[in-house]
């Protein structure tokens, strides 16, 4: 097998004035989960669609297991599966009909397609729902059917485009478990997500993308150490003590402290030279607050959010450009070009 599942260089896709993917370079080793992390409108879906042969690149090159996505599209199609952001199953058909349809299209004979469909439905806990129309499924069930459809012929590379967006926590955990099992059986997974913790839990390597370009790449550990180990959120009992608390936290954590709109709340980002030091340094800071006679009502240590990660990686929070402007990606692009 080819060592690299995906190689792209200078991949470009434009929609009018909007350069959705703008010189994307990705190298995805086979047999791992590769996370593509980015906000809405960063170009994740566009990139996935080009790699899955659904969109023609406007520039650059992309290879999947060594096959060019344009010139050898059918060879690529034979090895990949796509679970799109919006469930790639037919809502008007039942679960079993969806899988039988796909099985037939993948070349299975009628009986074999039926058997395979029933096996998959059982493995994904959908046997009871097999004969119900998919439009009556819950979000989690739909997503499971979608993934079942994607592994009907176990692909060498599975694209999962924001597989957990919009799912409740339990369904999200189910999807995570499924992804782990799929990868353990040798399928490479390209996972796009907006959530740092999701990429952190699943991916061996992560590319952070914004404005269609990779702005950081590495293992989750490497990324987190460049981002910082997270943020300490503190709520005081008395707003009058906030200036004092700000001084103590700034000194203990050696970082800038952010005063929240809420007059009793503060947030301090833990600087990132040592990714594992977060809890320890946070507890020292908490002790220092208590020693100064500051009453803390509530305290939490969070993983850096995607916003915080962006702040650390780009020096600007994502909301400053296209991220908050997903309805108007072109505007966001312009803002970025002006900033650059």
């Amino acid at each position: 097998m080819h060592d690299l599942a995906i190689e792209t260089s200078g991949l470009v896709k434009t929609f009018g004035d909007n350069r959705a993917v703008d010189g994307l370079d990705l190298t995805v080793p086979a047999g791992t989960v590769y996370g593509v992390l980015g906000p809405n409108g960063a170009g994740k879906t566009t990139a996935v669609k080009m790699l899955a042969t659904l969109l023609r690149p406007d520039g650059g090159e992309a290879r999947v297991f060594g096959h060019d996505v344009l010139r050898e599209a059918d060879a690529v199609r034979g090895r990949v599966s796509l679970t799109g952001q919006y469930a790639s199953v037919d809502e008007e058909m039942t679960g079993v009909e969806n899988l039988v349809l796909l099985g037939r299209l993948l070349g299975h004979r009628k009986a074999a397609a039926k058997d395979r469909a029933m096996q998959l439905l059982e493995a994904f806990g959908l046997t009871e729902a097999a004969r119900r129309q998919v439009k009556n499924y819950s979000g989690g069930m739909r997503r499971r059917l979608d993934i079942a459809a994607s592994i009907l012929n176990t692909p060498d590379l599975l694209f999962l485009d924001e597989p957990t967006t919009g799912l409740d926590p339990r369904s999200r955990n189910q999807v995570w478990d499924i992804i782990r099992i799929v990868v353990a059986h040798g399928t490479t997974v390209l996972l796009t997500t907006q959530y740092l913790d999701e990429a952190d839990r699943l991916a061996g390597r992560i590319a952070v993308i914004d404005h269609g370009r990779v702005i950081a790449e590495g293992t989750p550990g490497e990324l987190k150490s460049s981002v910082g180990s997270g943020a300490v959120h503190v709520r005081l009992r008395d707003a009058a003590q906030r200036p004092e608390a700000e001084r103590v936290l700034a000194k203990e954590l050696n970082t800038q402290v952010h005063l929240e709109a809420d007059p009793v709340a503060l947030t301090a980002r833990i600087a990132g030279d040592d990714a594992d030091a977060g809890p320890e340094r946070a507890s020292r800071a908490l002790a220092a607050l208590a020693a100064s006679g500051i009453v803390v009502d509530d305290f939490s240590l969070g993983q850096p959010s995607l916003d915080e990660a962006f702040l650390a990686l780009t020096g600007a929070p994502p909301g400053e450009h296209s991220l908050a402007l997903t309805d108007h990606p072109a505007t966001g692009e312009n803002a970025q070009e002006e900033a650059a």
Partner: protein, 281 residues
């Protein structure tokens, strides 16, 4: 896994051994033939009819309405009696009704392309036109149903075709074949236009003149010259003449050939345009 965990669907816990068993990369079957993939998509279209039977309204009620309306509206005035007129009108009204309902092909395609499932189809290693042919196969069934409904209504009202069973079946077969070919215009518009409504709008703009400015309702000899010229080149007129001749038991080989050639051209031109749009979408 126990029965209780599968009941609600939400309390499912992915089991490594069960998932592992389905993941075992078995031998992949060879890709399906073009015919097999097309028939599979045709089966999908049938399933849709099964799940949403209300959509058959347009191939049952609409043709009945058309037949009754025009038979009794024009029959007395144009031919002396509705039954007399029906002998002339029925093949034409059958053509009109079926050609009218071809526009739903475009609407259906347009509705589907917005859905994620279309991306999945497009990422499969299958013969590319099979997805579109599937729609048309499902529609061919609908055209056959509409034709049959009209024939039955006609027979009840007193239509007595001289061509017998063979002539009538041949006429319906020709009509369904032509409609299948003609529908590629609608798959093209379905992919080209942005909304269902615009697809409907364009379809009406094309279909109304095509079906009314023809020889369906009256003999074109009373029409002004420029209109006769249009009616003369209108493919619907040729289809109606061919269908009439078959039902009357005196097949007009020239007209039948004209219709078949016209249908073949439609597939070549609009089929190619459809696939170009489909691949670029």
């Amino acid at each position: 896994m126990s029965a209780t965990t599968t009941e609600t669907g939400t309390s499912f816990v992915p089991a490594a051994d069960m998932l592992g068993a389905v993941l075992a990369p078995g031998v992949r079957p060879p890709r399906p033939s073009a015919l097999s993939a097309s028939l599979t998509f045709g089966w999908r279209a049938m399933l849709k009819i099964k799940h949403v039977p209300e959509q058959l309204f347009d191939v049952t009620a609409f043709p009945i309405m058309m037949t009754l309306m025009f038979t009794y509206l024009f029959g007395g005035a144009l031919a002396g009696s509705p039954t007399e007129y029906l002998q002339f009108l029925l093949p034409g009204i059958m053509v009109t009704s079926v050609v009218m309902i071809t526009m739903y092909t475009g609407v259906e395609v347009n509705k589907d392309i917005e859905k994620g499932v279309f991306d999945r189809f497009r990422s499969l290693p299958i013969w590319r036109p099979s997805t579109m042919i599937g729609y048309l196969l499902g529609d061919a069934l609908r055209y056959t149903m509409a034709s049959t409904v009209i024939l039955v209504v006609g027979l009840v009202l007193g239509f007595r075709p001289q061509g017998g069973v063979v002539g009538v079946v041949a006429a319906i077969a020709l009509l369904v074949a032509f409609s299948f070919a003609f529908s590629w215009i609608w798959t093209m518009f379905g992919l080209l236009l942005r909304s269902e409504k615009s697809v409907m709008g364009v379809s009406m703009m094309v279909l109304f003149p095509l079906t009314f400015l023809s020889n369906v309702y009256v003999d074109p000899q009373t029409m002004p010259g420029w209109l006769q010229a249009f009616v003369g080149v209108n493919p619907i007129s040729h289809l109606v003449t061919a269908a009439r001749s078959l039902m009357a038991g005196s097949p007009d080989a020239g007209e039948v050939t004209w219709v078949l050639v016209c249908g073949a051209l439609s597939v070549v031109i609009f089929g190619a345009l459809t696939m170009r749009l489909y691949n670029r979408k």
